[in-house]
Amino acid sequence: MESLSCKRCGAPLSVDPESLIAVCDYCGYPNIIGGDFSSEHVSIIPSKTREVVENKFIEVVKKDPQLSKIEDIEVLEISGAYFPAWYTTIRANVRASWYTTVIEERNNRVITRRVLQHEERTISRKIFLPARRRIPSEPVLNALASYTVKKAESISPTREDFDWEKIKLEFLGVEIGRQEALRILTDKFIDSLREEYKSRGEQLDFFSASIVKVEEPVLLYVPVWTISYTAHDSVYLAVFDGYDLTCLYRSEPLTSLERIAGFSLGLALSSLSGPIFAATASLTGFETSLLFLGLLATAGYTITKSAMASARVENA
């Protein structure tokens, strides 16, 4: 049976027909399969190796005030993968008008007035779209989003002189092609602009956006590592960006002492909020103090919820 072979070292390749990139089992070189597929607009963010990611996790554990006290932490599994996403810059002409309510004082009387505001301008923005059908988990999505602003040295998959041996990460299949990605990205861009103008006032009077320019999209492969670990016989997760080792997400055990601290904080907040509300009402007026009351109530609710939660979650 004939098969493909690695372009760099000549070893036989096992090819998954769904994938655009097959990683050589021997030398780790990412072979673009599918003949003359243009590699010009494909870029790979280099990843640190498994050992480096694991060491980073151990370092995070040592530095973390809570985790460092737990003795039975054990790494269960480390898995990394390259997530593909499309990146492009889109420019649009926006025309929008919206209503806002203005409160002013006239002849010692407070009146409210509806004001029609408008804006015409050109907006340009770099946006991204995961190249897979289902949206990946929130931490992975955050990792992909960070590359719309992050300056990273990406490498072309045609570069054979790179240390591919060390990485050998699976390249997840691309399920959204270039044309579809462009259509979805444009729609996503216009929808987000409409939402932004909507939130400027109470009601939109008009919104229209026409696309002026769309840059050639780049398919970027972003390395993300997930570590599952056990502490006190329970399982937790940590997610790392493989390029700069940012810890994107971490769930950690909540000790009973921390829970008690949370509950005490909730009780303290309850007892103080009556006085705080009454004092702000007499100092700043009833309306401002209502805002304060809302904030205090949300804080109380959140404190109780996180004290009862199954894990403490830390996001980058």
């Binding site: 049976m1 004939e2 098969s3 493909l4 072979s5 372009k7 090819v15 998954d16 027909p17 769904e18 994938s19 599918g34 003359d36 993968a81 997530f83 025309r95 029609l116 059908r133 289902r134 990946p136 988990s137 931490p139 992975v140 299949g173 092609g177 270039r178 259509r183 979805i184 729609d187 929808d191 409409r194 939109l204 009077d205 008009f206 919104f207 229209s208 016989d233 329970s234 399982v235 937790y236 055990p253 509950f263 909730g266 303290a268 907040l269 309850s270 007892s271 909020s273 009556g274 006085p275 009454a278 004092a279 009402a281 103090s289 109530a297 609710y301 109780t304 919820k305 009862m308 199954s310």
Partner: protein, 312 residues
Amino acid sequence: MSMAKEHTVRCPHCGAEFQVPLSASRVTCPYCFTVFDARELTVKEENHYYFPLSKTLDPFEKLVKFISRQYAVPIDLPKSFTVDKRELYWVPVYFFFADVTAEARGHSNMYGEQTSEIRETRLVSIPASGTWLDEILNKYPFPVRGKLPFNPEITSRGLYLNPALDGNAAQKKVEQLVTSKVRLEASESFNTLYSVKIIEKKIENRGLIHYPIWVLGYNYNGRSYQAIVDGASGIVIHSEYPQTVRGRISLAVYALLSVVMGVAGALLYSYLVGEGFLALLGGLVVGGATALPALTRSATRVARASEYMEFR
């Protein structure tokens, strides 16, 4: 690629020509990503895939490790539960690409009468088992590992669910979903909307995927509890677990205390400063909000938790 024997194929969807190994039967077009038969050069009527089941995963081990870290869970649960049910389901999910363009006409107080183009483009997934699993999977973000072309052998392991909806019915659902989104966007873009006319509509069936889902049941102290675990990734999608009486009582006491503390703080303030009514209102509102999550948890014997919700 010098060692491989290749031939040129032409994609039946977009017409692009490219090289594939002679041995390949199913190939993916690198330009439009259509999967087709390399010999017959035809697109399969319905692309059918599945997600491979994890070979190393013991769903119960994973479930217990997740439940054991919940608040107020009995300490002996990991050792003294018994397995009631351990069933593997293959759940069908349709995928569609929808691209709808409409022309909306309406009135704006700023710009007068206007027409504007409204577009909605996206991928839509429709779980189609026709069971309660659909509801749970609707909100679940399917994880990483790649899908594979459908293999009939998977039907011998676990319960294979045939789609309760056919492709056309699922397509109608997608059409409804997307056009109602277009109408919503149109009505938001004008002060007064006069009309919406769909001028272009493309809804393509991108295939059916069967996804492995573990449905688990366990018994603890004579009562049974349910859980659902992702068969490919091991993520706990949904779980039920008992709460200890001690845990529930302490939550109820905490809820009561937080209201009492709210009132006490207010009374002290009104005694020292005055403004009794406002202080009491503030103390009750915040004390109540602080008590609420604890009170609802203490009122239920069975609590629920899901691992992927922690990501949010």
